[in-house]
Symmetry: C2
Subunit: 374 residues, 2 copies
């Protein structure tokens, strides 16, 4: 069955109101932005290739790794202290500026620009908002974007055909299918069909396998975990040897976040819905990434003083005082955590903008790869 009659295909249908970067201002600064500006001019992200992190295992019981150590908190704290707030908006903005430059350079050099195709099924308000934000972000950096909308009750074949047509389109370098999908559609089948070279969301099992395995490099790393690690690196937070706890084990965030932290040599524990005493394990974390979808799940007494908190949760909470009728809350009780942590990402303005920046970065990488442009 042909899908054409059911599809609306649009090019950048939503107009931005104002560039995201001007909407919210922060007083905190990232630690390393200057260092990045000067010493890493030739690369957009600070995250290194994963294979470059692979180190030989040296199990030496007498080395410092194996000596009992008194935990040294990553910062000073008191009842009133506020943690450094990691400014995801500012970091993402910096990355997006660099992506925009690279897109211009690509266009000037070879007359090509990166193209992103988005497939949106159904009429979920939150999905529509996420897609709109991605499209606006594409437009700002010069990436051409295309959206295919399918109705809530579309068949699996219709969805797979939409993906297949983007696979075959040489002007499309990255494809993403906005999740979640209606229940009758199998997200696994879409990953199987979606071209590995255009899997800018990094959800293909080959990309997940290569993310997990030492000695291998995925073509794309899932945008949200990649954004979390980039935030940590740009905030000067060392990962190697740290105890990291990931709360949530979704295929989209929790799983790839835990695998990525492991490639960076953190000691990773994954807490999920079947974990007993999650607060006990969480209190051991030097670095905590939460991706659950439960507002305020993590309270201040779940945290070790000095922990670095990366809050992926984006939970809409009714709030009549807000223009749109709701506000966003993270999985972590920010007011309590900010008194215990040494650094924390806010919601909104933390991981969210980084996810979009990483999508743009992956799409640029895909286009460079397709056109052998360096």
């Amino acid at each position: 069955m042909m899908v054409g009659s059911l599809m609306r295909r649009m090019v950048v249908p939503w107009r931005k109101k104002a560039p995201l970067r001007h909407r919210i201002s922060f007083t905190t600064m990232t630690h390393h932005s200057n260092a990045f500006n000067h010493s890493h001019a030739s690369q957009i992200l600070m995250s290194p290739p994963l294979v470059s992190l692979d180190l030989p295992d040296v199990w030496a019981p007498n080395s410092s790794h194996f000596q009992l150590q008194v935990p040294s908190p990553a910062g000073n704290f008191s009842n009133e202290q506020t943690a450094a707030v990691i400014n995801g908006l500012m970091i993402a903005d910096e990355i997006r500026s660099r992506i925009a430059s690279e897109v211009r350079r690509m266009q000037d050099s070879i007359g090509e620009v990166p193209g992103l195709a988005v497939v949106l099924v159904g009429e979920r308000r939150d999905s529509q908002t996420y897609v709109r934000n991605k499209i606006i972000a594409c437009e700002e950096v010069g990436i051409v974007s295309t959206v295919t909308e399918l109705p809530d009750d579309c068949t699996e074949d219709e969805l797979l055909n939409a993906v297949a047509s983007f696979n075959a389109d040489p002007s499309v370098h990255g494809i993403l299918v906005q999740l979640p999908l209606p229940q009758h559609l199998d997200v696994g089948k879409i990953s199987d069909v979606l071209s590995l070279e255009k899997d800018v969301d990094g959800f293909h099992p080959v990309n997940i396998g290569n993310l997990a395995m030492r000695g291998r490099e995925p073509l794309f790393i899932s945008c949200t975990p990649k954004g979390c690690i980039e935030l940590l690196i740009r905030s000067g937070i060392e990962i190697m040897g740290k105890k990291a706890v990931v709360i949530g084990n979704s295929n989209i965030v929790g799983l790839p976040a835990s695998l990525l932290l492991q490639r960076h040599h953190a000691t990773v524990s994954v807490v999920h819905a079947f974990t007993k005493n999650p607060e006990h394990i969480t209190r051991e974390a030097d670095i905590l990434i939460t991706a659950v979808g439960m507002p305020n799940l993590v309270r201040g007494n779940w945290l070790k003083p000095g922990v670095v908190v990366v809050d992926v949760g984006t939970n809409p909470i009714e709030d009549a005082s807000c223009e749109c009728g709701y506000r966003l809350m993270g999985d972590v009780c920010f007011e309590e955590a900010v008194k215990v942590a040494s650094a924390i990402t806010p919601v909104p303005g933390g991981v969210g903008p980084m996810t979009i920046a990483m999508l743009l970065s992956n799409t640029l990488d895909a286009a460079k790869q397709a056109h052998s442009f360096t």
Copy 2:
């Protein structure tokens, strides 16, 4: 360059001395072997398909999962108590008997038997021993095995050609390249070339990705981790909700073991060479899997009373009193651990025989799949 001149190709070149199952006797019993014999007659392994384990996440702060609980050790213990010793030889023997029956049934029904091809590079004594044991095990259950030996200094092309020729051979249903390889050979390239349908070692990134991701099922699960879980299940040890620690993060054992435990809803922490205070994390474990390759790394005081210990380490230690000049030791100090744990696998006679049994099981599955035999 053709590889033919460098290869010796043999069919079952090593004769067994005596069936493995008669060599060592144990006094301990597995808990559930009778239950298995009677209620699971139609399947060989007790491990369920992974997708059947996928459960919806229900994050409920007031549920019992989230209440602080006093740890209840899995068994009684004292300074002198010996843990139950999990008899890997006996369990593996039971599985191998069932595989032999299935191979006969396949031959009687469709005139086909499973075929396993092994590629051995170089002359490492331990690798030669492992390969010999695998070939003997194949012969015992009626699987036809073929070994290709390549010299230590063979080129990557020669090795890849050997794998490619087995990919194309319809009488070969499973292929394994014995690891470790000489340093100049890239194990990653071999995984990429080896047919996914014949990857009975489960090392292909697609199989690792599908092992990691909820909602997906790998074609094959790596033999050693699969054997570890089968041992736990057959010994009546519940995995869901338990704290599991995996020591070692190799692509071959540690990584897939941690992913598999996670699919079974354990709360998993991975300890590796860069972990600070590994004994601190290890002491939290209800289930401990060690795959490091350091004899006696894990001492009695690393263990929580009642822990279940699965020791993958197989470290040869010089011992003039042994006929062969050495004996095998695990990563865990058995004499100390047996006084603290509620159950423990011995070395030898624990995980080792299970690894081979899982290889046979995977090869049988590959042959059934290839011939659509159920």
